[in-house]
Every structure is written in structure tokens, then in C-alpha cells.
Subunit: 311 residues, 2 copies
Amino acid sequence: METQFNELKQRLAEVSDLNAIMSILGWDQEVMMPRAGTAGRAEQRATLSRVIHEKFTSPAVGQLLETLRPYEESQPYDSDAASLIRVTRGDYDKECRIPADLRAEMTRSASQAYGAWVEARQKADFALFAPHLEQQLALKRHYIACFPPAANPYDVLLDDFERGMTTAEVSAVFAALKADLVPLIRAISARGDAVSADCLHGYFPAAQQQAFCLEMLEPLGFSAASWRLDPTVHPFSTGAGILDRRITTRYHEDYVGAALFGALHECGHGLYEFGVSPTLERTPLCRGASYAMHESQSRLWENLVGRSRTF
Amino acid sequence: METQFNELKQRLAEVSDLNAIMSILGWDQEVMMPRAGTAGRAEQRATLSRVIHEKFTSPAVGQLLETLRPYEESQPYDSDAASLIRVTRGDYDKECRIPADLRAEMTRSASQAYGAWVEARQKADFALFAPHLEQQLALKRHYIACFPPAANPYDVLLDDFERGMTTAEVSAVFAALKADLVPLIRAISARGDAVSADCLHGYFPAAQQQAFCLEMLEPLGFSAASWRLDPTVHPFSTGAGILDRRITTRYHEDYVGAALFGALHECGHGLYEFGVSPTLERTPLCRGASYAMHESQSRLWENLVGRSRTF
């Protein structure tokens, strides 16, 4: 079995490399690329997504997953080996349902839409973005139609973020939280002795905000050897591997809170992936266990640490 | 024939997209990437070079080139159609000689070597780079051995820069130039009334040098919509398409000449590719006709324009 397991890992390492490249192309588009590059970048990302789809859904991968079933069952459920095979099988079964053309078109369309969204936002003109949004929705409906009917069509999309979770379950969680949180927030607001946030407002030049953010991030684990912090339109965290983390924030010169809490939040996402074991590099396990887990890490650093009195 | 020609163009468009992505990965490594990302980036570039090699050397491409031979011969030699097929056939015949493993190893090794070179240069410690240089040479010898023996082994490598040119021809050109240029330069130096370059020396902060370079580049055709200028260790020009040009320079704070003439030189390379017809985008014709032609354009802007009295 060791030969087959190594062959699977080799194939997944290549797919993982190509996914890392896709992340860098996205980062570059949102942070560095001259805006006239949008049309070309959309084609480049579409072509790469097609290559990734073809490599990952290759019948050889499916055969390896079948061959390795007894090996997977012989290993402890939480072992790296069993988890690698199980997670890959889940990804593989889903990806095989999606035609390569749809995957490429979803990528192309999203990349074009990003360029239009930036322009629409700058000009405060929704009409520039509306046709792109409509296309995104149409493609999502095509995507949903690739899967067996679910209780709620959104269940199919939610599964990409939280494997196995349904819209009904999320709604129940949110309903329970709302029942207590809404009165609590009202009660706090009514007390009128809220902490003043005045010190966050004033005039703060972008370059100085960046220096300040870097100073706040360094005690958390951010270092120039493995990280970048850059400005963008809407902050996000990405990277090309455990040791290549890219986080972004934005600078409003009259309010330092957006940059600071944005940077702390994205650093939280980055730290979660920076903390993955190097033995999982270039495997499908080299990512967050779920998006909720990911978001819990970003909010831990943004809110529990970043808004604490001691910090 | 139109169906086959369009199929060839579609395949070449995908290869072109992947080559554009490779350029961005190189730019990112030399300009943006945190240094701890080197090992991962070397694997990513190796994987991508293997994919490009596999896509381009696919037997389907060879069959299309054979099928299209009569069509190529029916078109004028300098037409886009005949040129596309001819240039692709030349590239294809060469690339098919190279094993995918060698192509991937050359890419991986060069990417690792770049990281080592930057460190060795910074520490002025050649020993850090020496083993990488030896590996580069060994791989070049493997590459040369993939081709029929040439009068000079370097002929094989030169062909990648100037198709069909030999080391003997270049040596003859240089010998003829040297015969007149060396005495000419001696005679000028001996006159002792050289133009003073004192104004280029002084204290010039990097940020102000960058602003100055941008001001000098804009009249040439550089614009933020399609171009970037960034600092790097050794300046170069690259891009991800006609409308996405990336040039680089470096700032010595006691001498503005390096940044200025470097930026003008790289802008010349960029302008050459920026001037390619949009109808050639995503084809193998969307590049310089030769490296000598490319260098002539960079030197035109650096020297004939940049060092002219009027500029």
C-alpha cells in the first residue's frame, strides 16, 4: 500500500502547488496587478482552474482512493494518513460532479467580477457591478444543480465552507444566539457608560498606520521572513504555503480602527495556517479544519486579544 | 483547416496563460515574496513547468502542426498564421527533446538558486551560492545533451536566445566591434573633457528616487493602469500580458544613476512588449522577435534617449 499512498501524495502535492499558485494569482490581482490586467488575469485563472480540475479529478486519483480504502480503515481515524485519504475522497467526490467548463467559467467570471466590483465601489455605481453579480448567481445555480437536491439549495454551497452542515442547523445556532445576544447588546447600549473609542479617530497618515499595525502584529508572530502586510480594497488573508503568509488591511486616514482591527483579524487567519504542521505541507490537510474554525481564530486575535485592556 | 488552426490556437492560448502565470511567480519571488517562501516557491514553479511541458509537448499539438503544414505553406511567410505555426513548430521540436523531469528540475533548481544568490550577495559570501551554480551548470550540460552535437556546446543555449545563431557568428560580430570600439573609447577617455556626472552623486532617499523615476518614465508610455515599477536586487522586466507590465529597478541612496538608467532600460524592454499587437495576445508570437532585438529596445531608451542632452 505504501507505493500507492506515496503516489497519491505525489499527485496531491502537485495539485496543492497549483492551488498555492492560484492563491498568489488572487492576491496579486487584489493587491498588486495594474487594473488593465484584469481581462488577461481572468483567462489565466480560468486556465489554471481547468488544469487543477483535470489533475485532481483524474481517474488515477479515483483508483488510488479505492485501492487505499483498506489502508485507510487500518489506520486510526484521526491519523494523518486516514485523514488525508478521507478528506481527499470527500473533495474528489464533489469535484468530479462539476464539469471542467463550469469550474473554469466560475473562476473566469469571479475574476472579471472582482475588477468590476472595485470600479463600481470606487464610483459608487452599482449598475457597473449588477450584471457580474447576476452572472455569479446564475453560475452558482448551475453549480448547485451538479449535486443531489438538498433541503435548501444553499446547503450545497454551505458544504464547501462547513462540510456536512446544513442551512437549517446554522439557522438554529444563530436563532439561539440572537435570543440572548440582542437583549444583552440593547442593555449594554442603554447603560450609556460605554468605553470611549475617541482615540481611534483623528488624522493618521496611511504610512504611519502601516508602521503601527506592523508593530502590533509582531508580538503575535508576524515576521517579515514569512509574512507580508499590504493595503487592499477589502482585507483578506491568503498565502502560498505555511511559511509564505500574505495578509491585507486598508487605511482610512481619519480612523485607525479599520486598519488595526482588520490587520489583527487577518493575522489571526494567517496564524492559524502558519501553525499547521510542516509535515502536512503540500497536502489537502494543509488548511483550516473548517471556515468556522478559521473565523474563530481571526476573531480571537481581533476581539479577545486586540480589544482587551491589557493589549 | 480552420477548425484545426483554431484548435491549435486554443491549446497555445492555454500554454500562454500558464507561461504568463510562471512570469508572475518569478516576479513575485524576486520582488514580493517573504524569503522563507523560497523552498515552496521552487516546488510550485517546478510543478507548473511540468504542466506547461506536458500541455505543450502533447502529441495532439504535434499532429495539429503536421496537419496544418499545407495551410502554413499556403499563407505568406510573414503572415500571422504562417508565423504562428512556424514559430510553434520550432518551439515544439525543441521542447519535445527535453524530458519533463529535466524541465521541472531546471526550474526548481533555478528558483532555489535565486534565493541562495540573494543571501550570498547580501553577505558577500560566494560559498553560499557556489553549490547552486555548480548544479545550474550540470543541468545545462544535461540540457545540451538533449540536442544533436553542435560546433560549440553553447550553440544549443544561444539558440534559446537567438534562434539559429551560433557562438562563432556572435564571436565574429563582437571581434569586429571590439577592433574599432576599444580604440575609440580609449581616445575619448584620453581627451579628459568628459561630461561631468557629478550631479548623479549625492544623497537621494529611495522614495524620492522612485517618484523621480516614475516622472521620467511617464513621458515614455509608462502608466499606472498597465505598469508597475518596484525595487528588486537585480533589475528586470516581465509581465503577464501586453497590458500587465512589471519593471523593476534598485535604489542606491548615494547615486541616482543606477535607479534612473535601470528604470529607463527596463521600461524599454516593457515598451517593446507593450507594443505587440493585441491580436497576438495569448499566442507564442506575443513576445520579442529575439533577445538581441529586445536588448536593442532597452538600450535605445536607456542610452540614445535617456543619456541624450534633450532628455
